[in-house]
């Protein structure tokens, strides 16, 4: 029999550094696959955030830059401007991107920086142990909203980031995908690859939001967590393209 699927060797020979069933592992794989397909591993600079995926450097055999919490889009800007022909992959969680680093992502997009962003929306602060995130759903529990997020208590509404960024003219491509089943995982890979090809063609900012499970901090089994992504998250965060070739869809 022929080998038809094998591990991507951009990763070191180890399991991912994440919890069992964590979406980061799946999404890392899709990023690696996209980078490999375009043959750019030696030319990639992976911009890791502060969040669980700060551990990317322990797993990925890529040049990695790891700046302060939320500042990754600014640092990615510096990297890309200094080395315009490198492939800059920006990888951020929802706390990093949509709370502490809101200004940095908005302005990196608005400048039309020629980089590819992968935004992992798991609706929670994973690394610090399950606090409310800007994307935590209404009614979803977290350690800092133990009764469930309630906008009426001043806890704010879950932010739809693709929709928020959509109007910015610097945004060339945006799509929201999910990893709740294999079909959607493959769609995620396609979207990331498209974002990377856009960068190689110097088209501007590509933004891929991925809905992702955090079973540990959601207090669910990995399988239940996938269901939650599909039934609850995707209901509030519609999947699909938001911007293609610089045009709103």
């Amino acid at each position: 029999m022929k080998k038809v699927y094998e591990r991507n060797n951009i990763a070191l020979d180890m399991p991912s550094p994440y919890c069992p069933g964590c979406g980061h592992g799946i999404i890392h794989r899709m990023v690696m696959d996209a980078i490999k397909e375009v043959g750019q591993a030696d030319n990639t600079i992976f911009m890791a955030p502060v969040g669980c995926s700060i551990l990317a450097y322990t797993y990925l055999d890529l040049d990695v830059c790891q700046p302060a919490h939320g500042r990754t889009p600014a640092a990615a800007t510096g990297v890309k401007r200094a080395l315009p022909d490198s492939l800059v992959v920006l990888y951020q969680g929802d706390g990093d991107l949509a709370a502490i680093g809101t200004a940095e992502i908005v302005h990196a997009v608005n400048r039309g920086e020629n980089i590819t962003a992968v935004f992992v929306n798991n609706a929670i602060y994973g690394m610090t142990g399950g606090q409310m995130a800007p994307t935590t759903l209404e009614g979803q529990r977290a350690t800092t909203c133990p009764e469930g997020r309630n906008p009426m208590l001043g806890q704010g509404y879950p932010i739809r980031v693709c929709e928020l960024l959509q109007s910015l003219r610097g945004l060339y491509y945006a799509e929201r995908t999910s990893v709740h089943d294999a079909k959607n995982v493959l769609k995620t890979r396609k979207a990331i690859k498209k974002g990377i090809e856009n960068q190689m063609a110097k088209k501007g900012f590509s933004f891929i939001e991925v809905l992702s499970p955090c079973p540990v901090n959601w207090g669910m089994t990995p399988r239940k967590a996938l269901e939650y992504v599909e039934k609850e998250m995707a209901a509030y965060y519609p999947l699909g393209e938001f911007k293609v070739d610089g045009k709103i869809v």
Binding site: A48, Y57, D63, G78, A82, S86, E104, V106, H107
Partner: protein, 351 residues
């Protein structure tokens, strides 16, 4: 070549930076340093460099972080409130061992304060305004010429030590026009191939970060950093001693305050008072030994600062009770006046 030009301090810093091979400048508008970004926008881009007006000082320092990761010479500038915002980034630069040049053209504070000259960011600069155990070289130019010279030096030292370097001036230095001659940059080159990111070929992957969750690793990093800080302390201290040999009283002041004290020394000597000046050119590393040695012959030190008194604490540590220390300070944008200092000097000398 080597022609005399007339420039504002801010512009001289910007031009010196470009001549030093600056590739990327990132900044955010704030008075009294606005001439630096404006100069960069006009001139750096023409030389093929990058200028970005960032969305904040926080973004600017992190853009510096990113650019520096690739081995490019990178710089940012601001004034006091903006420098406060950069403290997180400075701590990360030290932690990640990244070279960078940062300019603070100080203004009155705390808070929004005003746009008048000040030296109230001394503690922030030399005691680590950001978190963690860190140090960086802090240059305090007195003249526009020295601002240009030290800017060129700052880029070399940042690369040599893989550490940020701060140029600490004030609104007067930034705004005043003086003639200067740009020196040739050193031409020193630094091999960054063992750590910089990008263009990877036949080498292991590189990592720029300041985190490790493995036991003992961060402590080990700190000991490594200490070795570097010790080396800087040993080799990078710069100080000017002006007429201290026979002085009964020695002023200790830096930057604009030193300029004022120099005038007071000259005037007071005409009136028969033997005074001198110790002028730290680096406030970190601080010229403690020079001051300490001076206590053998001088029993009065007179610290002048444009603040409520910050450097005076380092002078006290150097003097260690072996001489009297006097102080004249003007906070919140006030400028020490020669007659006021002279009057206080005469009272001290009467005793």
């Amino acid at each position: 070549m080597a022609e005399k030009v007339l420039m504002k301090g801010n512009e001289a810093i910007a031009e010196a930076a470009i001549r030093s091979g600056l590739k990327c400048y990132f900044g955010y508008p704030i008075t009294p340093q606005n001439e630096i970004p404006a100069y960069m926008a006009a001139h750096l881009t023409k030389k093929g460099g990058t200028f970005i007006q960032a969305e904040s000082e926080i973004a600017a320092i992190n853009m510096v972080y990113g650019a520096s990761c690739t081995g490019a010479r990178a710089m940012t500038s601001s004034s006091s409130p903006g420098i406060s915002l950069k403290q997180e980034g400075i701590s990360y630069l030290v932690g990640a061992k990244l070279p960078a040049v940062i300019v603070n053209i100080m203004r009155g504070g705390p808070g929004l304060g005003n746009i008048a000259p000040s030296q109230a960011d001394y503690f922030q600069s030399v005691k680590g305004g950001g978190h963690g155990d860190y140090r960086m070289i802090v240059y305090t130019p007195e003249t526009v010429q020295e601002a240009a010279d030290l800017t060129m030096k700052a880029f070399d030292k940042a690369d040599e030590y893989r550490n940020p370097v701060l140029i600490l001036g004030d609104a007067i230095l930034g705004q005043m026009m003086e003639p200067l001659i740009f020196k040739e940059p050193s031409g020193r080159t630094f091999d960054k191939s063992s750590w910089k990111l990008g263009n990877r070929k036949d080498r292991p992957s590189h990592l720029i970060n300041s985190l490790s969750l493995s036991e003992g690793v961060v402590e080990e990093w700190n000991w490594e950093l200490k070795k570097k800080f010790d080396l800087m302390t040993e080799k990078e201290m710069m100080v000017e001693e002006y007429l201290t040999d026979d002085a009964d009283l020695v002023f200790v002041a830096y930057g604009t305050s030193a300029r004022i004290c120099r005038a007071v020394v000259n005037q007071s000597r005409k009136e028969g008072y033997k005074t001198g000046l110790i002028r730290p050119i680096t406030v970190w590393p601080f010229p403690s030994d020079v001051i300490s040695k001076c206590t053998r012959k001088t029993k009065d030190f007179f610290v002048v600062e444009m603040s409520l008194g910050q450097m005076i604490e380092d002078v006290k540590l150097a003097v260690l009770g072996r001489a009297s220390i006097h102080f004249h300070g003007r906070p919140g944008g006030g400028i020490p006046a020669e007659p006021d200092i002279m009057k206080q000097l005469k009272e001290i000398m009467k005793k």
